[in-house]
């Protein structure tokens, strides 16, 4: 967990910041069977994602196991160069991660 598990980049053009993020996460639905043990892999997926730009709420999202493994997320939101962008997620097992970057 010490390894950085969120990569986030943000570029501003004409007052609009395009944010691209890649998160490391197994996003297990709980429906996949471990063929060796015959048991299901337990559900383990990101449930909430939030992003702030320049301290203001930029995006909030609710997710479930239907989002692909190692989730990719991109969106446009207001902001300016030099603003700090923070992206955070919480998953169904109570884990959280957060990363920050500067809007370029």
């Amino acid at each position: 967990m010490a390894k950085k598990s969120i990569k986030v980049r943000a570029k501003e053009k004409g007052g609009v910041v395009t944010v691209k993020a890649l998160m490391n996460h197994p996003m297990e639905t709980g429906l996949r069977k471990n063929k060796k043990t015959g048991k299901m892999f337990p559900a383990h997926y990101i449930t909430e994602v939030t992003a702030t730009i320049g301290g203001a709420n930029a995006l909030s999202a609710n997710w479930a196991g239907g989002i692909s493994k190692n989730p990719y997320l991109a969106f446009d939101a207001p902001g300016k160069k030099g603003d700090e962008i923070t992206l955070s997620w919480t998953d169904n097992q109570g884990n959280s991660e957060s990363a920050t970057a500067k809007v370029k």
Partner: protein, 147 residues
């Protein structure tokens, strides 16, 4: 018990990381303070909610054929004043995949979703108290639920 062990390992890891661990703990509090409760019933529903009327103001970009149903790229763009943007995979066991809210949901959202089999990717925009939707049919050659 298993979750407990994972939490202990996680906490041990973050404590070992020192200041990073503190920052992560602070981050832990922030999202939950902002977010309303996760809508479990909607994500566990086997049927889709109200899709509303089809709208030409919403566009769903997704491949005609997904080689790998585990990773189907989807981009939803729209020109409405959106309270929320939801993405459904109509043929999945639990079709609701994601909901997006806030300023970042006002023009374009992209992500990658799992599709168990051929079906529609449907974007539902809630605006002005009503639902509006657009859909894109995606053929899935290899199903995306680890089968």
């Amino acid at each position: 018990m298993n979750t407990d062990m994972k939490r202990r390992v996680f906490l041990k890891g973050s404590l070992a990381a020192g200041t990073v661990g503190v920052a992560v703990s602070a981050g832990l509090l922030a999202p939950q303070a902002v977010m309303a409760a996760w809508p479990k019933a909607e994500f566990e529903a086997k049927k889709m909610g109200d899709l509303g009327a089809a709208s030409g103001d919403i566009n769903v970009k997704a491949p005609d054929i997904a080689e790998n149903g585990a990773v189907v790229p989807v981009t939803v763009t729209h020109s409405m004043n959106a309270d929320s943007v939801a993405i459904y995979a109509s043929a999945n066991g639990t079709p609701l995949v994601a909901q997006f809210m806030g300023p970042g949901a006002q023009s374009s959202v992209s992500t990658r979703i799992k599709m168990g089999k051929t079906g529609d990717v449907i974007a539902v925009v809630k605006s002005g108290g009503k639902m509006h939707h657009a859909k894109k049919s995606v053929k899935v050659t290899i199903g995306g639920c680890g089968g």
